[in-house]
Amino acid sequence: MQAVSLKKFFDSGTLFVWMCGAGLALSLLMIGGLLALIFINGMGYFWPKDLVQFTLHDGSYVLGEVTGHEVIHDSVNADSPEGKGRIQLKVGNRDLYGLDFRWIDESHIQAQSTPTDVVFLERREWGNFYGRPHRVMQGDSVVASGHQEATTALFPLIDRANEIHEDIHYLERSVIGDINHEIEAQRLSLRALELEGRANQSEVATREQEVAVLQSRYEAEADKLRVLYTQLEEYSVVLEDVNGTTKELAVGQIIRMLQPNAMGVGEKVWAYLGNVWTVLSEEPREANTEGGIFPAIFGTVLMVLIMSIAVVPFGVLAAVYLKEYATQGALVRIVRIAVNNLAGVPSIVFGVFGLGFFVYAVGGSIDALFFPEALPNPTFGTGGMLWASLTLALMTVPVVIVATEEGLSAVPREYREGSLALGATKLESLLRVVIPCAMPGILTGLILAISRATGEVAPLMLTGVVKLAPSMPLDGTFPFLHLDRKFMHLGFHIYDVGFQSPNVEAAKPMVYVTTLILVGVVIILNLAAISIRNRMRRKYAGSTI
């Protein structure tokens, strides 16, 4: 009886249905787990964690943020079936200890506490400092001494130092940067005249004179800069780690000071938001592992914008041609299949093409024709914003063509015929009836193209992305938009910081944050595309013939 029902159970195939369901469930678990992993790690980065102080059996102290815990491999045996654990601690103080991270065996720990007077210092060099300020000095005289006094005295000094840093940044980037730019422009124009053989004595003299004027302006600004730099050195603080090792540091080296153990939840939330803003708005420091990722966000957005400007007209034009103008036949069908398949060609192939065609062939010719004075330094003959955008445009144009064609197909024939019957020309019915109706399709295509371009890295690595761009592709110097400049990109930032940086462990949180932002952008774009597509489907559902 039992056997019969078991056979029936197998014959009914219910088990196989369940197996299929398990396949789906596992896929869903995988994506859920992945998104959760990115989200938790990315969001956790901003939270100011408590600093934990461990007292070890040998009498020494360790202070830091707890970042991990694991069971020591090979420690599981008959005596301790659970194994022994160890704690990963971010101890910072790279200048004192050499390494940011330290593993501590749980068996070595005697006591654990969270003293409220310890501070967390974000520094311009050497990563974070965890410990206590001991005394604040102005030159050789002590301004404040004792942990509490020194901490209180330090806050306004740090604010002041940050203001000076802003001034320095303005001077270096804007003022001196402009002067350097002008000097370079003079040099190039002189070289251009020489190349054309028109460099006569007076021309050379005027330019040299102008350069001399610029040079003296430069000297004046550089003096100001030197004053500011000495101001940064005015105050210094003697820091003390938990074991009493001291270290003197100029206040100008400190970006921020927090006392996480003394902060309430409200303060921590505030600091959390501040951290988010820092990451979104500031430039990277310390080989991209600290600071913000603003240039990467900006570069990604600008590149995608330029790509969209290039991709939409051509994609739509090609789709309109294929759908509305070309005689539908075998040839068009083949072309359609080919275009469709280009969307499946690996992105790195487009990168190779972009490098060979845009950078070397087109860029090289542009340099030879229009920028001979700068040679042998390439202007457009090297990777840059323009070439990267165009390469991605080429890569995504099939997506736009396919989506636009789908949009055009969804427009009922009655609309076209009605428009033509009312006396409109083909162009008029196209512009006023067909394309507006197909707009959701075009938009879907564009969004999908943008989403693909945002996350794509491989072709960019060959056509102009860099780990650290000295200047933004859009700034206050004429002609404002510098398409020849190299740029930073979120996806490449992940690759570079995660795999090329010397201190991967310290860089991981930053990579998670970047990943979170990138994944967030891509998912939002895709959800937008999906919802537009669904609306479009609903709108035209049932209206075909």
């Binding site: 396949g23 896929s27 280009l342 192939v349 083909k426 989403s451 891509v522």
Partner: protein
């Protein structure tokens, strides 16, 4: 369709302007304008649309254009031929010729005199010796291998004079002029026998030079000018002179020294090749004696190829061959040379061999005026040229390997341009095993560059293609079952509402940037997997069991709950079951390791299967790339399953077939072309995936199917090497070839998939 629907839709239309003002009242000009505009627009759409499509297609052509030069056979062109009047009686030994790197000035040395010529005009350049002219009677000239033009002149009284010919480019107003010079050092006595120099070999070294001389009496002497032994305050150069052997009766025909002067090869008239080891100049040893394969042949020319690891040998029968040290079991040091390849034979006796200073190519000339260009790695004779009809007396490959000079016994001087950009690449070197220098057997190797200029580039593509296939295969192993099963479940057994939620989730999975997956695979999954590998094995075993158990358990649930299964309860149950299984396996990680793998899985795999576990391995790739491929296969399969006409399914069910029977006998068969095309497209995506493999494999181009080590794919290889590849170089073009391969491969696969899908569509549109 009810009329109300139509109006509703028309109302929905975005901003169709009021028709009356636009279309009703208008004059003839306006109508003409409109017609004109329409025609212009038609033109614009035609031109723009076609141009866009053609330019996309142009990618293929451009890639092809960049690759093509690899396979274009080299060409040569005579740049100049002119008569010289220096030759009274041709004397092979005392003659040398050369040319500068820009091929603008050539020179001819004969019996201590030098004459410079302008190329291509052949006009002599007036030249005044900067030092005292060499007055001795020169009887032999030996050329030192290396960058410059260094020679030793052998005099009739047994001295040598080290000579350097300088061809220095100077620039004035961007115009280049070559300034020819010749400088010489003090003569040094190298022939203690005083019988006269018969044959000479000369090599400059870091410390000084080495000279090997065969006297008329047949004695072989080595003279080394090297650093002193360091006891003295100032290291005086020290000359050591050693007699190596005596080979009477003019047996020695030719000598070759390598560029470190550590190996001496002697060609004998009886077809023997003697291999002397001079690494210790105080204790030179005859290490090996080799025989030409044909005993009656004489060795007539010898030279080392760039890098000193291959010896080229020419014989009086016109045979040109390459010998290499081939390491074998038990062969001591120095490793004995073996004949590894022979080239097209000359008609006459080989007179000169001149190695390229850029690659493993070399020129050979013979007594009938033929000049051949060979390449060792690619084992081919690239060019056959003729420079006059008489014997060639002097030969030199131009410094940039883009030309050659040859001097003919009839007194003519020939300058030849050689266009030979990519000699090392043939379809054989790309796709077949090649015997490289230092290897015992022909092998598939990809190693495009190293620190040294003398490196032999190895462009075997097979390890990369293999890596691509390996990664793809492992990814598909994971992705195909999950994706197809998920698609079957979604398309066949799921309520439309739930499907509307599940499909977008999976589509978002498809949109995840691969750099994110690569980062997580490399920095999160790979270290984690190393720890929890036993748990993963446990999951593989346990998951089917727990799912079966859950399924059987579900049968005993009350009917009311079972019916609700349609709205996704069973899916949630499954997810919980799987989640618990995964958690359980993770917690039992160490226990599983002790049950299955003797408490140390790495050790276990090493001892049982001889597999070594690398952290970044194919298993990590299988999961990460599988993750990237699942949504693609899922979407397309699901589409084709849900596109099976509903009335067919309803019919099947109405006839009494169970859902499972309907699925296997109707739905899957109808949807199989769609699923097939899904697999193809997924395959194409996995083949071209770059960032995941770049970040999560070690990128080692090895040939090993093991799940536990890494590999290098074509795409990752491009990403790694392209930024370093000089524009237009061989590596650059080989990488373009990789790109072209990827392009062609994915394009063909996608096209097949698309055609299959379209046929499916036409097949079912008739129902």
């Amino acid at each position: 369709m009810p009329p109300s629907d139509v109006t509703a839709q028309i109302d929905d239309l975005p901003s169709v302007p009021p028709a009356k003002t636009r279309f009703v009242a208008q004059g003839r000009t306006q109508r003409k304008m409109r017609a004109l505009l329409d025609r212009i627009a038609t033109g614009v759409v035609w031109v723009g649309g076609l141009a866009t499509i053609l330019s996309i297609m142009g990618i293929f052509l451009y890639l092809f254009k960049e690759v093509a030069p690899l396979f274009i056979s080299p060409e040569s062109e005579s740049q100049a031929t002119f008569q010289t009047n220096m030759i009274e009686q041709p004397m092979d030994q005392a003659l040398a010729i050369g040319i500068d790197q820009y091929q603008e000035v050539a020179y001819l040395i004969h019996k201590g005199h030098i004459e410079f010529f302008q190329v291509p005009s052949g006009e002599p350049i007036p030249y005044e010796a900067s030092q005292d002219p060499i007055t001795e009677n020169i009887v032999a000239v030996a050329h030192s291998a290396g960058r410059g033009h260094q020679y030793a002149f052998g005099t009739d009284d047994g001295h040598i004079v080290p000579v350097e010919v300088g061809l220095t480019p100077t620039f004035h107003n961007d115009i280049r002029t070559i300034i020819p010079t010749m400088t010489h050092d003090t003569p040094i006595r190298v022939d203690p026998t005083e019988s006269g120099i018969a044959t000479l070999a000369y090599q400059e070294t870091e410390a000084g030079f080495a000279v090997v001389m065969v006297s008329q009496s047949g004695e072989l002497w080595l003279t080394v000018l090297g650093e002193g032994e360091g006891l003295m305050l100032v290291d005086e150069p020290v000359i050591t002179q050693t007699r190596l052997a005596t080979y009477p009766d003019g047996q020695v025909t030719t000598l070759a020294l390598d560029s470190l002067a550590e190996t001496l090869m002697i060609g004998m008239s009886d077809g023997r090749l003697l291999h002397w080891n001079l690494q210790d100049p105080d204790l030179p040893q005859l290490s090996h004696t080799y025989l030409l394969p044909n005993a009656s042949d004489r060795v007539t020319a010898l030279s080392f190829l760039l890098g000193d690891r291959s010896l080229i040998v020419g014989t009086n029968k016109g045979i040109v061959s390459v010998w290499m040290p081939v390491p074998t079991e038990g062969s001591g040091r120095p490793i004995p040379y073996k004949l590894v390849r022979s080239f097209t034979s000359h008609d006459g006796s080989v007179t000169h061999l001149s190695p390229s200073r850029r690659d493993k190519g070399f020129l050979s000339t013979d007594s009938t005026g033929q000049m051949f260009l060979h390449h060792s790695t690619s084992n081919q004779t690239l060019l056959e040229m003729r420079v006059g009809d008489a014997a060639i007396q002097g030969l030199m490959f131009a410094p940039k390997a883009n030309g050659a000079v040859a001097f003919n016994a009839d007194g003519t001087f020939h300058v030849v341009n050689i266009d030979n950009a990519h000699p090392e690449v043939t379809t054989e070197t790309l796709f077949q095993p090649v015997l490289y220098e230092g290897y015992a057997n022909p092998e598939y190797i990809w190693q495009s560059s190293s620190g040294s200029d003398e490196f032999e580039p190895k462009f075997g593509m097979w390890p990369l293609i293999f890596g691509t296939l390996k990664g793809t295969m492992y990814a598909m192993l994971l992705a195909v079952p999950l994706a197809v099963m998920g698609a079957i479940y979604t398309g066949m057994f799921m309520s439309p509402q739930l499907r509307g939620i599940v499909k977008p989730i999976i589509e978002i999975m498809a949109a995840l940037p691969s750099v994110v997956l690569g980062f997580l695979a490399g920095l999160w999954l790979a270290p984690l997997l190393e720890q929890i590998f036993p748990a993963v094995v446990g999951m593989l075993i346990l998951m089917p069991l727990t799912v079966t158990a859950a399924c059987i358990g579900w049968q005993f649930m009350p009917r009311s709950i079972q019916i609700r299964g349609q709205s996704g309860v069973d899916l949630s149950v499954l997810m919980i079951v799987l989640f618990v299984t995964i958690l359980g396996c993770l917690m039992l990680n160490t226990s599983i390791e002790s049950w299955l793998f003797d408490a140390d899985y790495k050790q276990w795999f090493r001892s049982v299967f001889d597999l070594h576990y690398d952290q970044r391995n194919a298993l990590v790739i299988s999961m990460a790339m599988g993750f990237a491929v699942i949504p693609i296969i899922f979407s397309i399969s699901e589409d084709s399953i849900s596109n099976v006409p509903k009335h067919l399914i309803a019919g099947s069910l109405a006839m009494g077939a169970t859902q499972w029977q309907t699925l296997t006998r109707l739905v899957l068969i109808s949807a199989s072309p769609g699923i097939f095309s899904a697999l193809m497209i997924g395959f194409g995506r996995a083949v071209g995936e770059t960032m995941i493999v770049l970040m999560a494999t070690g990128n080692t181009p090895i040939l090993d199917w093991s799940l536990f080590n890494g590999f290098r794919t074509l795409s990752a290889n491009i990403a790694v090497e392209m930024p370093e590849a000089p524009h237009g170089g061989t590596l650059y073009r080989v990488l373009f070839l990789s790109g072209l391969l990827l392009f062609t491969f994915t394009f063909v696969i996608n096209t097949v998939a698309e055609i299959v899908r379209q046929r499916l569509r036409t097949k079912y549109s008739q129902y």
